[in-house]
Amino acid sequence: MDNLSAFDMIGPVMIGPSSSHTAGAVRIGNLAKEIVNNEYQDIKIYFHGSFKETYKGHGTDRAIIGGLLGYKTDDPKIKDSLKTAAEMGIKFEFFPIKLENVHPNTVKLEITDVDGVNTTITASSVGGGKIVVTRLNNTELNLKGEYYTLITFHQDQPGLIAKISEILNIYNLNIAEMQVLRERKGHQATAIINLDHEIEDQILSLIRGIPGIKTSKLIKPLN
């Protein structure tokens, strides 16, 4: 109980009715917003399992869209998010889906931003408002929105990860966790680096400047 707070018992303040199906869904939307980091053009939402069965009664649809619009879990505007998004000219649609080997409360999002860039995100609400993104485009990962997370997409080559670590090291940025994934040796690879602190733009551009790095994203933690 050492890290249990009084406000875990009397709190959080939230929009009901469900911490997993409503608050968790808002947080999935919030994290997806961080990942996309641009205005939306078109959003396709696929509900799996318990989300598919009960999304309407739990307002999971409004919660996801509200989260994508940046509303926090206690924002009463969540209830009207579908109307708001439509008024903003965002196209969105909901579909049922059956996914393999996922948590019952799972959603897949296909988002096209105003520049035509597509992002596909699969995320689950695992209880008490906690969430995890399990897939980003073609990469399987484990993103919980608890850290500042640096994600790089790069060509798999020797020494590249060491260079990233070196830059982080110079600026005294502590790596909490690091995960490197690749399709095959020498091909497309992804590094997911969880940091205790925010990275300044200047350091981010140094990392982006490393030869072999195609793109990188910095995702802020959810509060």
């Binding site: 109980m1 406000f7 009397i10 929009i15 009901g16 999304y55 307002g59 206690d74």
Partner: protein, 294 residues
């Protein structure tokens, strides 16, 4: 700061240091959050404000849940009371109506304070705040009562669970009712032992309560179970304040609750595969909701 894992330890710290139960919980919170006492109290005051606001909408407006299944019952009870038709008297009737009001707001995507969960959010504001208003307690005293409640909640969360999926509704509405009974007894000036007894009696009375939400939604039976959680909390506090003691101490009741929760089949722990959720009426409701769904 001293930490506590049981109610016995919580009371021992208070007695050793000659401070209130609330102060033990506040001191612990200061330590783990590194906030000042004023900040910690302020945070609870803000929480209290949200609770207070959450009572109003369903009493004053016609609200419906997202599924359309529930809403309007708080108003019915309140209306009957206003017409002088209450069976149990004005105060108790207000407690029932206010509890329903918060739970209905939750089902209608309103802003609530989970206490300890969203499904059981009506019990604390419905009973504690109604009594505090009736007897005109000062804000600081209500805030302290809420800290006492959270202290009891932490022990339950540590020793058992406050999740319906893990322990059935006894863990949600049962815990909420025990926390509320403790808060009320503290507010009304009960001794530390009386506070513990009230929580013990409240939890004992709801032991074994299953979690069987119709169509998987936090509506039926949840909303009305909140009203029972409030009635139970008030009854337990009434007894404890009169000097009635729980034969089984609260810490042992919590352990028993955990055992009962573990023994409950999965079908009665939020899966909607048993209990009320599989009655013919529930099956019909589920079907109707599904046809309008994806």
């Amino acid at each position: 700061m001293e930490n506590f894992n049981t109610v016995k330890e919580l009371i021992e710290i208070a007695e050793k240091k000659e401070i209130s139960l609330a102060q033990v919980v506040i001191d612990r919170e200061i330590k783990i959050t590194e906030l000042s006492e004023a900040e910690v109290r302020e945070k609870m005051k803000e929480t209290l404000e949200v609770m207070r606001e959450s009572v109003k909408p369903a009493l004053n407006q016609d609200i419906k849940s997202m599924s359309g299944l529930t809403g309007g019952d708080a108003k019915l009870v309140d209306q009957a009371r206003k017409e002088g038709k209450s069976l149990v008297g004005d105060l108790f009737s207000r407690i029932i109506a206010n509890t329903l009001a918060v739970s209905e707001l939750n089902s209608a995507m309103g802003k609530i304070v989970a206490c300890p969960t969203a499904g059981s959010c009506g019990i604390m504001p419905g009973s504690l705040l109604t009594l505090a208003e009736e007897y005109q307690f000062e804000e600081e005293k209500i805030i302290e009562a809420l800290f006492v409640a959270s202290g009891f909640g932490m022990v339950i969360a540590k020793q058992a669970s406050v999740s319906g999926a893990a322990g059935g509704c006894q863990a949600e509405c049962g815990s909420a009712s025990a926390m509320t009974a403790a808060a009320i007894t503290y507010l009304m000036g009960g001794s530390n032992q009386a506070v513990a007894s009230a929580a013990a009696v409240a939890l004992k009375n709801l032991l074994g309560l299953v979690c069987d939400p119709v169509a998987g939604l936090v509506e039926v039976p949840c909303i009305k179970r909140n009203a029972i959680g409030s009635s139970n909390a008030v009854t337990a506090a009434e007894m404890a304040l009169a000097g009635v003691e729980s034969v089984i101490p609260i810490d042992e009741v919590i352990t028993a609750m955990k055992e009962v929760g573990d023994a409950l089949p999965e079908s009665l722990k939020e899966t909607s595969c048993g209990g009320l959720a599989v009655t013919p009426t529930a099956c019909r409701i589920k079907k109707e909701l599904q046809t309008e769904s994806l």
